[in-house]
């Protein structure tokens, strides 16, 4: 690829470097496969031998990386098929992919690509270990969310992978939990309540919040800091305390257990997010634009809707999305402020998780993950658009 070949990086030695490491990796996979079949020691030995053979064969006879890796995948898939049937193919192919990748990564010297040329061997080792650790942390972040996606297609009433699922038997998978979600009146009622509460709460927080954010970003605002502290406080105060206070106070004024009580509570919780995002957008707002509009005879209302609003709209929308997701995901406050008539989706999930009756929760969870991916995409796009509008480079 690179036009300048750096002479100082000699090709790593096959026998003293690549072979031992790939053999070790093979031994590790062999040990895992072996212990799954109750024979760890033979597994270790066979794995080591296969690894060594693979490394030698790939490095010596397969200069084409792509072909070599596919060959490794195919080889291990066949071994997997012989050992463990259909799921064995998948596991084998995965192992083969990793083994092939490691072999070429080591033998071509790619492992030094991400570090400066002057790094010593221990430093390179440390750097790659560090990258590996980061990979594990990313795995820790994502794996739990990814795990529940296949589990939601479970055909049984279990919260774990059944043998049929592991055998990739189509009978082990079904849409029954999704069907249950869409046909069970409890879940449908909960969904309807969530859909009824969240948009109204969002509307309230966005309209009040945007006005106040515009007020707060004026040049001269008396008591700016205390006001800001009060407006942000719903985000800072722990939810259980907000819930307790609202429960006490709303039952005094007759709002506890009513639809409006929940809406007002959720609107209050969403406001800090609107304030923060909209004020952040307003920081880059060019005030001379409104002056120019006023100069040309526009009244304040026209100026707001024709000049200011279009420019800060991305911030308003993403603030609104934050407020929406706050209300849509909120459990603690609705648990206390609401009554059975306002049972929302998270509340139903909460009780479902506590009782742990049905994996329908996992289906709901998968749907919610899909929704959050959509929301995340929209917010990211809005953020970039807003930065582009304000002439900042997209970061």
């Amino acid at each position: 690829m690179s036009s300048i070949d750096l002479p100082s990086t000699p090709k790593p030695s096959l026998t003293r470097f690549v072979l031992p490491i790939v053999t070790g990796a093979g031994a590790l996979f062999g040990l895992l496969t072996g212990s799954a079949m109750d024979s760890p020691s033979p597994g270790l030995v066979i794995g080591a031998v296969v690894g060594a053979a693979l490394a030698y064969a790939l490095v010596s006879f397969m200069p084409s990386r792509r072909a070599g890796r596919w060959a490794a995948v195919a080889l291990f898939a066949v071994i997997g098929l012989l050992v463990g049937g259909l799921p064995g193919i998948v596991a084998g192919a995965a192992i083969g992919g990793v083994m092939g990748w490691i072999t070429y990564w080591l033998s071509t010297g790619d492992y030094r690509n991400t570090v400066p040329i002057y790094y010593t061997a221990p430093q390179v080792l440390w750097h790659n270990t560090y990258l590996f650790i980061c990979g594990l942390i990313f795995f820790f972040l994502i794996a739990p969310i990814v795990t529940i996606l296949p589990l939601s297609f479970n055909a049984e009433m279990f919260f774990t992978f059944t043998p049929k699922m592991l055998a990739l038997d189509p009978e082990g998978y079904s849409l029954r939990h999704y069907r249950d979600f869409f046909s069970n009146p409890d879940w449908q009622q909960a969904l309807a309540n969530s859909v009824k509460i969240a948009p109204l709460a969002t509307l309230l927080s966005v309209s009040f919040g945007t006005l106040a954010a515009i007020g707060l970003s004026q040049e001269h605002v008396p008591f700016r800091r205390p006001i800001m502290a009060i407006l942000i406080s719903p985000m800072i105060v722990p939810l259980i305390i907000s819930a307790a206070g609202m429960y006490f106070f709303y039952s005094r004024i007759g709002l506890q257990g009513t639809y409006w009580g929940v809406v007002l509570a959720h609107a209050a919780l969403g406001i800090p997010f609107v304030i923060i995002t909209v004020t952040a957008t307003l920081v880059g707002f060019d005030r001379s634009l409104t002056r120019a509009a006023a100069n040309m005879g526009a009244d304040p209302v026209t100026t707001f809707f024709r000049i200011q609003m279009p420019l800060i709209l991305p911030g308003v929308i993403s603030g609104g999305l934050f407020a929406f997701i706050t209300s849509f995901d909120e459990v603690v406050v609705v648990l206390f402020v609401g009554s059975a008539g306002q049972k929302t989706l998270p509340w139903q999930m909460f009780t479902g998780l506590r009782e742990q009756i049905s994996p329908t929760i996992l289906a709901v969870a998968a749907i919610l993950v899909a929704i959050s991916i959509c929301l995340l995409t929209v917010v990211e796009m809005l953020r970039r658009r807003s930065e582009r509008l304000r002439g900042m480079s997209p970061a």
Binding site: Q218, V221, A229, I230, A243, F249, A265, I271, L353, L368
Partner: protein
């Protein structure tokens, strides 16, 4: 126009500078500034009002409830006054029991005595059942008097006779007594209707038979406003007979009755003559008959200690202390849980915070040092959990960690763990810490990342070119510059975790729960709202201090999302 131009020229020669309309420029500017400030405030006002109503008022209400204790003085007003003279050395005197009787009778009619019993039971176990049994039998005590009077004159059975006697046939009403009793009753019954009572005690009779007039007025108010009945048609409470007995036990009253001329005077005279037939021993022995706990020093001390309208009792309870007659003392061993819970909450929050630093720092470093395109891609892996519903992530951990869960299955399958000894990773502290570290990790990574982005990579290179090792360059040059990010992230994670409720509730079991779970328990199960409010206030204070620190380090304006 010409005025303006002349004033302009004036200004250049002498006097204050003037604006176009002739006012001094300074004042004109100040006016403009004031108008601008007003406009800003007008824009903020609706939201501020909204937040004050929907959020700040509830918080204030919670703070108020953590010290409020009016239930004792509202339910037992006379007893509380009578107890003022009690020295606490021995059993209280007859006067106290008598006051208790009349208070408890009204409270039992209004069904408020059980609430008080529940309240005092938090302080001294057993009071709740004591109040319940006594409330049930408060009629019996009065009936002993009622029987005597009805034997003396059968007219004492008649509702109309009583009504005439107490109004003295339409004599001048004692409005002071009426309004005082109405006030007391309103404090006892929160949702008492208002309206015409159709009765007013005569001044004459309340001077002659003060207790009776008081008891009958209570009866009249309750009958008219709580039950919605006509006073003149309802038989009076047993307590009214008892009150008459109390009045007639006084020799002076008996003498005064001899010269009284109002309606029912002859019946009263006959009753006064029969005063010696009334139950001997008074109310004290009657109460001890019902339950001998009424002689217990502890019960009376509790009532006296908690008779004030505001009490630090709940706060003391939340730190495992209690208010007793001799001041503040530690609670019984088996009730001391809150200090332990606070310690556990802080310990677990710190553990979660450090785990987040440990896991978040490498990630933030990686994101900050990769090319923008790659780091944006990887950032999505951080933002996805951030945007995913809290319950989804909690359920994921429940699925992964439980004994028949995915992690245990993998461990058993790969032979690392024996099927018989699957690991217990959930419903304990470990489960809570792992799940919450995962949930709060983005809150650590994002502030760290935004701080690290501002650290120029050239500093590290400079350090290395001056001969620093990798470690020295990191520790002496890079790390100190990233400390603000660590501070911001840590405070954020700590604030969020000490108030967490849902995740500990679902994966915490009994050993992995936080103080917030106890607050929820007191609100919805034990109904000890005062204690819940006090625990909440302490937690709130802790969070506000941290918030203040966060504001000092990062500034609220600099909070960024996503």
């Amino acid at each position: 126009m010409s005025d303006a131009s002349t004033s302009m020229s004036d200004a250049s020669t002498a006097g204050p500078m003037l604006a176009a309309d002739g006012t001094p420029l300074k004042r004109s500017l100040r006016k403009a500034l004031r108008r601008e400030k007003m406009r800003a405030l007008m824009l903020i006002a609706p939201l501020l009002f909204f937040i004050l109503l929907t959020f700040i008022a509830p918080i204030a209400d919670m703070l108020f409830r953590s010290v409020e204790n009016q239930i004792v003085s509202n339910t037992l007003p006379r007893t509380v006054i009578a107890l003022d003279d009690w020295d606490g050395q021995e059993e209280p005197g007859e006067k106290v029991y008598q006051a208790l009787y009349f208070d408890l009778f009204v409270a039992a009619e209004a069904k408020e005595h059980t609430k008080l019993g529940t309240r005092l039971n938090y302080e001294e176990t057993g009071i709740s059942s004591l109040f319940r049994t006594t409330g049930r039998r408060s009629d019996d005590i009065g009936e002993a008097y009622q029987d005597v009077f009805e034997d003396v004159d059968p007219r004492f059975k008649e509702a109309g006779f009583w009504y005439d006697m107490m109004t003295a046939g339409g004599g001048e009403p004692d409005t002071a007594l009426m309004s005082e009793r109405l006030g007391t009753m309103n404090r006892l019954i929160a949702d008492l209707a208002s309206g015409d009572i159709g009765f007013a005690p005569a001044a004459e009779i309340s001077a002659l038979l003060p207790k009776t007039a008081e008891a009958y007025t209570d009866f009249a108010i309750f009958t008219a406003l709580a039950d919605g009945d006509v006073v003149a048609e309802e038989d009076p409470w047993e307590a009214v007979y008892a009150a008459l007995g109390v009045d007639l036990a006084n020799a002076e009253t008996r003498d005064a009755v001899q010269v009284y001329e109002g309606p029912g005077a002859d019946a009263l005279r006959a009753a006064a003559a029969a005063a010696d037939q009334l139950p001997a021993g008074g109310f004290k022995s009657a109460f001890l008959d019902v339950d001998e706990d009424w002689a217990s020093q502890g019960v009376w001390e509790t009532i006296k200690t908690y008779s004030a309208s505001y009490t630090p009792g709940y706060f003391l309870n939340s730190v495992d202390l209690e208010l007793s007659a001799d001041g503040i003392s530690p609670r019984d061993e088996d009730q001391q849980i809150y200090i332990l819970l606070f310690k556990r909450t802080i310990f677990m929050s710190l553990t979660i915070m450090f785990s987040c630093i440990l896991l978040g720092y490498p990630i933030a470093w990686l994101l900050a040092n990769l090319p923008v395109r790659t780091s944006n891609l990887l950032l999505i892996l951080v933002l996805l959990p951030f945007w995913t519903s809290l319950l989804v992530r909690t359920s994921a951990w429940k699925v992964l960690l439980q004994q028949q869960g995915v992690i245990n299955d993998i461990l058993v399958w790969s032979g690392i763990v024996d099927d018989a000894n699957r690991l217990v990773m959930i419903n304990n502290q470990f489960g809570t810490i792992v799940a919450m570290t995962h949930i709060l990790l983005p809150f650590m990574i994002l502030p760290l990342y935004s701080v690290m982005q501002t650290i120029p990579p050239s500093y590290l290179r400079a350090a290395k070119s001056l001969g620093a090792t990798n470690w020295t360059a990191f520790w002496r040059v890079y790390f100190p510059q990233s400390v603000p990010g660590i501070g911001a992230g840590s405070i954020l994670v700590f604030i969020l975790s000490i108030g967490y409720y849902i995740t500990p509730e679902l994966v915490g079991g009994t050993t992995g729960t936080f103080i917030s779970n106890r607050i929820a328990y007191h609100i919805s199960s034990s109904l000890n709202w005062g204690l819940a409010a006090a625990l909440g206030s302490i937690l709130l204070a802790a969070v506000l201090i941290l918030y203040w620190a966060y504001d000092k380090i990062v500034g609220i304006d600099n909070v960024k999302l996503g």
